[in-house]
Every structure is written in structure tokens, then in C-alpha cells.
Symmetry: C2
Subunit: 205 residues, 2 copies
DNA sequence: CACCGGATTGACTCGTTAGTCAACCCGACG
DNA sequence: CGTCGGGTTGACTAACGAGTCAATCCGGTG
């Protein structure tokens, strides 16, 4: 996968840890966390079985690492968006956009995060609820501020608004993952717009 | 668990199959499908290990049965709602209501169905996509008809509308399952209303 | 060159558990 | 009373796979 110039081998210490993580993404996405074996990860990475345990305490920790790494990036993106003074609707568009672009950029990684963590209330979801809830809290902040400013109406509690918004995004991603929804460059942009339109403007004529 | 009067043993053939299924719901909800052992199900049912295999081909088939049984009921409910001539918004309210009431009535069963099947794109989700998609298709029908009648605006493709609607519902249920959202009788009714308000009326003031 | 220590290897252990199966229980029926 | 068969039992097997570990490799250092 990674392209290496043989002449600069010296300068490229080849981060095996990274290679293992990237391989794990592919394997988890393909076979699922539970069904795959640690040896599958090692094979996919072109690395000895034991090396996985040199870098990670357990199979679980590989997934934890993938999730935390990426989720932190997401939280940072949301915080950044929150800090701007865009209209609330555009903030939501930016957030939905970031998540969808993450999927566009690395579908396997997003698939793993959503399927194995975010939507897995048993196993891993439970372990990472706090982190997941941080994202909800941030988005809730966006909605609440908009309600105070009168941009959004206040009848709908922010908690439900957030769940609807985030749930809509994940459901669309899941649709792509399952192959139930058409994918493609324009589908991505169109999804961003339509999700935000639905949540902000509603379906009613 | 089950109380039997020795004098009427004859008249009560005690459906062990059902007892096993009900026990499985509790165990799957508590420990998760992957983490629990078949012996846990047998123990919870107060039945010998082997009997599980007398009634079911495999551990997987127990879950399959639970899912298919309940999903069929859901599909029927949606079809029934679809057949009425209520306004689209009320149809959506009825559908959201049915799902939320299912959770109210048997949280464990809904938890299992959502966590282990509906949201599990690897493992079981993949096996049952067709069935799951039937529900989406039915709801899509509701939306499309509303768009033709001019009740809903047509800019938003029905696929996205459905994903947003259904995603919102599942996300709220997941919030309850995770313990991130307050539960309680009024929370249930309020959720129904707010989800539909969000999807139909939008957040914008 | 000798030595050190971290990276890397992969064969092996050890617990776990899905699924099997031979035996047993018990009501029905002749 | 005997025997037939489906329901029921639970010990057992067979496989599997996570995690361990002793050995090896290799670049750096004195």
C-alpha cells in the first residue's frame, strides 16, 4: 500500500504500528471485528502474529485505538465549527459535511467506527459512550445557542434535535455501507444538503 | 420462572421453545449476542443445554427467529398504517409510535433487534438487509405518496427522508439503551411527537 | 568486532464454547 | 404391562483463536 523508495529506506523507518492499524481497518471492515482473527490482521499487514501484541495489548485495543484516534478528529472539527459565527443551519451543514467527507475519504474506517463502536451498544459502544456523548453534547450546544438566538424554534428539546440530526447522518452512512443507497460523488454532496434540509426545514410543504 | 400447578400439568404443555426464546432475549440484551454463551440461555430458561439445539439449528438461528418474528409484526403495522388515509404526518407519527411502543412494551427485545441486527452491518445486519429494507421501502412509499399529493415538498428525495426519519427513531432508542437520554412514560410520548415535528416541520424558526 | 536492546518472528499453550450424541424420562397407546 | 417415540438431559468433543514467550534478527554503539 505505502510506496517506498528503496534508496531512502534508511530515512523511512516504516511505522509497523501504523501498518498494523491500517491493515486492521481493512480487515475489520471486510470481516467484522468479531469474525476476524488477529492472524488475519497480521497477514493483511504482512507482519508476524506476535508483532500485533508488541504494539497493542489486545485485539480490543487495536479497535479502541482506531476509534479514539478518529473520534478525536471529529470532536475537534465540531468544536471548530461551533466556534465560528455561521448561522446554525450552516454549522450543521459543516458537521454533516465533515462526517460524510470522512466516509468519502476512508469508507472502511468510517464503516468500522460506526458498525463496531458507535452503533454497538453492547461490546464497544458501552466502553466509549462518554466519548460518543461528547459529540452529542457539542452539537446540542449548537442547537441550544440557535434556539436562544431564535434561529431555531424552542419547542423541540435540543436532545431530540441532536439525536434526529446525528441519527439521520449515521443512517445514511449505514445505507451506503449496506448498499441500500446509491453512492458516488454527487450522492455525498446531495446527502449533506438533504439531511440538513430535512432536519432544519422539514419535509412538510 | 414459570409457575406450574402440578394438578394441571396435563393441560399445560409448557412451550419450552417459547421459554428459550424469551430467555434468549434477556440474555442477549444483558450480555450481547457475541459475549453470551448458549449455556447462559439454557440456564436462564431453566432448561438443559441440549434442548436449545433440539429447537434451534444454531445459536444464530435463535437470534434470527427473534428478529424475523418481531420484524414481521413491524412490517404489518407499517403496511396497515400506509393503507389508511391519514395525513402523511400522522402516518409517520403512527409508525414512530409503533416502534417506540414496541420498545416501551419490551425494551430488551427491541434492544436486541436494534443492537444485534438492525445496526450490525457486519454479522446479522447483512443477513437480514432485505427484510430491513422492506421497512424502508414501505415508509418510502408513504413519503412519495405525500410528495405526489403535495403534502410533502419534492426537493428532498424520499430515500433521504426515510433514512432521516428512521435514523432519528433508532438514534433515540439507542440513546435510551445507552442511558444517554431520559426514559419514562412521558419521554416516550414526547419523543414520538418531537421526532415527527423535527422531520416534518424542521428545526428552523 | 563484541555487545546491547528493541523490533520481529511464529510455534505453542490454554481456556473457551458451539454443537453432538447416547442415554434417559414419561405419557400414550394397544 | 410393554413398547414406542418425542421431549429432555448434560457430559463430551473438536475446533478454534487470543494471547504468551523464547528465540532470532539487526542497527547502533563503544
Amino acid at each position: 500500500m505505502a510506496v517506498r523508495d528503496p534508496r531512502v529506506t534508511k530515512a523511512a523507518p516504516v511505522d509497523k504500528r501504523r501498518i498494523i492499524l491500517d491493515a486492521a481497518v481493512r480487515v475489520f471492515a471486510r470481516d467484522g471485528f468479531h469474525k476476524c482473527r488477529v492472524s488475519d490482521i497480521a497477514d493483511e499487514a504482512g507482519v508476524a502474529y506476535g508483532l500485533v501484541y508488541h504494539y497493542f495489548k489486545s485485539k480490543d485495543q487495536v479497535l479502541d485505538t482506531l476509534f479514539l484516534e478518529r473520534w478525536e478528529v471529529l470532536l475537534e472539527a465540531i468544536r471548530h465549527t461551533d466556534a465560528t459565527d455561521l448561522p446554525a443551519e450552516e454549522k450543521l451543514h459543516a458537521i454533516a459535511g465533515f462526517i460524510i467527507d470522512s466516509y468519502r475519504h476512508d469508507p472502511d474506517l468510517m464503516k468500522v467506527i460506526i458498525v463496531e463502536v458507535t452503533r454497538a451498544a453492547n461490546s464497544f459502544g458501552a466502553v466509549h459512550i462518554r466519548k460518543i456523548d461528547e459529540a452529542y453534547a457539542l452539537i446540542r450546544g449548537v442547537v441550544e445557542k440557535a434556539q436562544q438566538r431564535g434561529e431555531f424554534r424552542s419547542e423541540i428539546p435540543a436532545e431530540f434535535a441532536v439525536m434526529s440530526f446525528y441519527g439521520a447522518i449515521e443512517q445514511v452512512l449505514t445505507g451506503w455501507i449496506f448498499g441500500l443507497l446509491d453512492e458516488g460523488e454527487d450522492a455525498y454532496d446531495s446527502a449533506k444538503a438533504h439531511i440538513v434540509q430535512t432536519i432544519c426545514g422539514g419535509l412538510a410543504a
